[in-house]
Symmetry: C2
Subunit: 367 residues, 2 copies
């Protein structure tokens, strides 16, 4: 079986995969209404929020767009904090829909500094956009600390956090951390295929919705709210993915949120240790290193593209390439969803073989 | 087994359902690229177009939005032709994104008149929005005749056609009928669950894209085009639905497009005959009556809501209620995707029993 070690889509357990093959039902009937009710109720637990969590039929980027267009207005001043590709994308979306975007970028491989964010806020900044876990670099931002820093200088700015590659894997506390809009997607921590996005709005964000004049239709969360009260979605939902999600939430509930987070941390720590034991360099170290995806610097003299191609072809092991400016400079190992140390062992062992094949020599100082 | 006779999601054959349970792959790897290539190539056959057909991870309404925001600009004059709920929705989307929308409505249960459409065109009308098959009323518009009428008076207007509940069921010829933008979704004629939308643009529509200033990001078809050339999608696709689609296209290719259309026509004719034999009235008669969904007038003295509830509860038969202004006045029988006359027999027999239970008496004049 293929060892799919990319940061989403992640391998799915047989329990959720089997659910996907169930026959269709009426998406405006009582059976769907019950399932949606169960799903929305449990998503609140995993978002750690008192507010409703809405499910969209879309990729993660779709709910990033929903976060922007539902809470902001054209011309709103937005501080877009970026530590990589997905941070940049969040700013791009805000700009595409007419916000006035100030970009605050941190060096790839490092996390955002709460003090610098606070310094860049203006009294009329309408929102701060932040990526919790930057999938392109394997770096996690301190959402709680940044939330405090924002609130200390600006009581009204919306705090909008992309939790696509974190929620369900890393600890995330929407309400306790003062997050106004949080969103994530189905194909990472939730152990089902891509196609669903989840989003929640605080009362402050709903006030933004009331004022919002940004263009929207499919992403309009007011429609999602109205229809959810009838046990429906405004537009035909990806029913089979709902079946899978219903099962995944059972499994996550059974493992327990803290246990799931602890398992991700342990597997990530193990991954970092095994990578370092090969003499390879991590892009990020310390508490900022992500517990859902690890970025590894491609060693000098090795062609990163060739490395991944051979791993795929000869070892049925799929790692992810670097994106954007990091293309060719790093590769990434996903460890989110159903994952344990055996998956990492298999990937690292294959990696060691191919690296040697490509002429890489472990530095004498290591192991 | 439940007899799901709503106009989408339609029951899926075991062949496509089984595909949905396959394990995830890298959506930026060679296996996905091959599958996407196969899918896009065959979608062109079913759209009967020389142009590329792009796949979005979204409900049908998402590709309706994509049709608008990619080809029009704010302030563009749009003629929105409506014969029901989905026609109204198309106009609503155009308005939400800043078009100046002129609404042309026809009586529910009738089709749009090409002559009246032509009369309502102005020299600077940028686009005509039309629903091929109005799911809410069971009426099919004559896309070819309307296309000719538009072109006779306005050589530049974009002809944008929602083929969500028709393409794959009813004959549809994008290029031959002069359609500039056509879109459909996965859960009707394509025999897989909801979650994917398909859209194609003519060269004239691509010229509209170049000019377009409407707000977009997730729906931006330029991104879809760029990534499709790499064998990818811009955003993580609903991989499991692609597996199902890959299989569905095989099955549709094997049956043959003309044969599929002929089967839908025969089943629809059979449905209309059996309904009339019960003494019930069809909302639409003649060539405008849809071959994918039949609307039946709720007979006097019968509570439509109660009728559908009993059918569901006691006969495991799911028909669709009327929508909008037709709520309670009609019910609808879906016959699209995998369907044959036995499915209709079962539904009509259950219907006859429940109608009698509710006090309905077949008029003496009938059979």
């Amino acid at each position: 079986m293929q060892n799919l070690r990319i940061p989403g889509p992640t391998p799915c357990p047989p329990e959720t995969l089997n659910e996907l093959s169930r026959q269709m039902i009426n998406h405006r009937g009582p059976e769907f209404a019950e399932m949606q009710g169960r799903i929305m109720e449990r998503l609140k637990l995993f978002f750690r929020t008192e507010n409703e969590v809405y499910v969209y039929t879309t990729s993660g980027t779709g709910v990033m767009e929903a976060a922007i267009v539902n809470t902001l207005s054209e011309g709103d001043k937005v501080l877009s904090v970026s530590i990589g590709e997905f941070g940049d994308r969040f700013g791009d979306i805000a700009e595409a829909f007419g916000a006035t975007v100030k970009r605050l970028k941190f060096e790839p491989g490092t996390q955002a500094d709460p003090r610098i964010i606070a310094e860049n806020l203006e009294p009329d900044t309408a929102a701060v956009l932040l990526t919790h876990n930057e999938t392109s670099t394997g770096v996690t931002n301190d959402v709680a600390a940044i939330g405090k820093a924002i609130r200390a200088v600006n009581p009204d700015a919306l705090y909008i956090v992309d939790a696509v590659s974190s929620l369900g894997c890393l600890p995330f506390a929407t309400d306790a951390w003062g997050v106004d809009v949080a969103m994530t997607a189905s194909q990472k921590g939730f152990m089902i295929p891509p196609g669903l996005g989840f989003i929640t709005l605080s009362p402050r964000a709903w006030a933004g919705y009331e004022r919002s004049n940004m263009r929207k239709y499919y992403m309009d969360i007011g429609k999602a709210k109205r229809y959810s009260e009838l046990g429906q979605t405004p537009f035909t939902p990806a029913v089979s993915l709902y079946y899978g999600l219903d099962m995944a939430l059972d499994m996550m509930y059974e493992e327990g949120l803290e246990q799931t987070n602890a398992r991700h941390h342990a597997v990530a720590d193990y991954t970092r240790g095994r990578i370092k034991a090969l003499g390879l360099k991590l892009l990020a170290e310390g508490p900022q290193a992500s517990d859902s995806v690890t970025s590894v610097v491609v060693p000098e003299g090795v062609d990163g593209k060739q490395l991944l191609a051979i791993l795929n072809k000869e070892h049925d092991t799929v790692l992810a390439a670097g994106q954007g400016k990091l293309a060719g400079k790093i590769f990434r190992i996903g460890h989110m969803g159903i994952v344990d140390t055996k998956d990492i062992d298999a990937a690292v062992e294959a990696l060691a073989i191919v690296l040697e094949q490509l002429g890489y020599k472990k530095p004498a100082a290591v192991g």
